[in-house]
């Protein structure tokens, strides 16, 4: 372009066919994360849900039940505070808190940075508790092996239909707070049907971290995944 008047004399117009995903750099960083997990023989699980669906309580219960046979670590993502990390830290397992500030999701770059600060050598299983948000985290692949989405009975059974993106890459949906089911109008069959339209291979576990309903099924799911990873 002409520096004097901005006309296009002395230059030509060019059309470049790019055909590249806008998230390509995140995808390649996610691949690097997957490689780090693989080198250390660690199963990575990405937990996603709305705020308040019970991710942290589920992790506390899970760690208590698994710690005798698996070495567990947790990376926490939150907009503010270290509260979740403190809850997990009191269980005695290694934890790292990512404070995202105003960012509504974790991305592969944030996880990559956290992995470099984490004691990976002794781990079998790494949970990533994503920022509580049923919209944004789903767009960002992290490089973990499994995506787990929690949907609590108190949120309502319409969430898979309303927030389809959250379920499109989910491997497992945990219907949480099942102990509160009688107090709600939650129709589990409807939630499952809607979620499987978006993700036909979706597995489902009905669970209450308070009453322990479904907890052993969840632990079996984790054990199975660890075994598959070890081949």
């Amino acid at each position: 372009m002409c520096q004097d008047c901005g006309c296009s004399a002395g230059s030509g117009r060019k059309i470049v066919e790019v055909q590249e995903s806008v998230l390509a750099s995140n995808t390649s960083k996610a691949r690097a994360n997957r490689e780090i997990l693989k080198q250390h023989g660690i199963l990575g699980m990405n937990l996603m849900s709305s705020p308040g669906s019970g991710k942290t309580l589920l992790l506390e219960k899970t760690i208590a039940r698994l710690r005798d046979r698996l070495s567990v670590g947790v990376i926490e993502g939150d907009l503010e505070t270290e509260r979740d990390a403190e809850r997990i830290r009191s269980t005695g397992v290694p934890v790292y808190q990512i404070v995202t500030g105003q960012t509504c999701h974790l991305d592969a770059f944030m996880l990559h940075d956290a992995l470099h600060r984490f004691p990976l050598d002794t781990l079998d299983l790494l949970f990533v508790e994503n920022v509580g948000n049923l919209v944004c985290p789903a767009t960002y692949e992290l490089g973990t092996h499994l995506n787990v989405v929690l949907l609590s009975t108190t949120e309502g059974d319409d969430k898979p239909a309303k927030y389809p993106v959250a379920f499109k890459n989910a491997d497992l949906m945990i219907l949480s707070k099942m102990d509160l089911l009688p107090q709600t109008d939650f129709d589990a069959a409807r939630a499952i049907r809607d979620a499987r339209i978006i993700r036909p291979s979706l597995e489902v576990i009905r669970l209450s971290a308070r009453s322990d309903e479904g907890l052993s099924e969840w632990l079996d799911y984790i054990d199975g995944a660890v075994q598959r990873l070890r081949g």
């Binding site: 230059s11 030509g12 060019k14 055909q19 995903s21 806008v22 750099s25 995140n26 960002y140 339209i197």
Partner: protein
């Protein structure tokens, strides 16, 4: 609302391609977005207009082409495209469908001004 993060990585990609072509100015950015991409087109535009200031894309127009949601129907076995996120077969009305396409978030092409090469 993660459109700002998305536009940030879009800007990096635009800068890379412009540098590769030795272009000083990008005039048009064409994105293809599916209904399951998890982004809101008008928020993307707002974010783009905020970020493009003082970059190679300062005068660029962002064009968003929506691509349809494609559904496989397990009852009538048709594949159909629909513009809305409605998981219902447009052919037979069945809810027994599976989404096979719809999460595109692609930088399709860039138009830029490049210096004339040697004659």
């Amino acid at each position: 609302m993660h459109e700002f993060s998305i536009v940030q990585s879009l800007m990096n990609t635009i800068e890379e391609h412009a540098a590769r072509q030795d272009a000083q100015t990008v005039t048009r950015v064409v994105l293809r977005v599916g209904p399951l991409a998890g982004v809101v087109p008008h928020l993307l535009k707002t974010a783009f207009d905020t970020f493009k200031d003082r970059t190679v894309a300062e005068i660029a127009e962002l064009v968003i082409e929506m691509s349809p949601l494609e559904l496989n129907c397990r009852d009538c076995l048709q594949t159909s495209a629909t513009d809305t996120v409605r998981f219902k077969c447009p052919e037979c009305g069945s809810l027994n469908v599976e989404a096979c396409e719809g999460d595109a978030l692609m930088l399709e092409r860039l138009e830029m001004e490049v210096p004339d090469g040697p004659a």
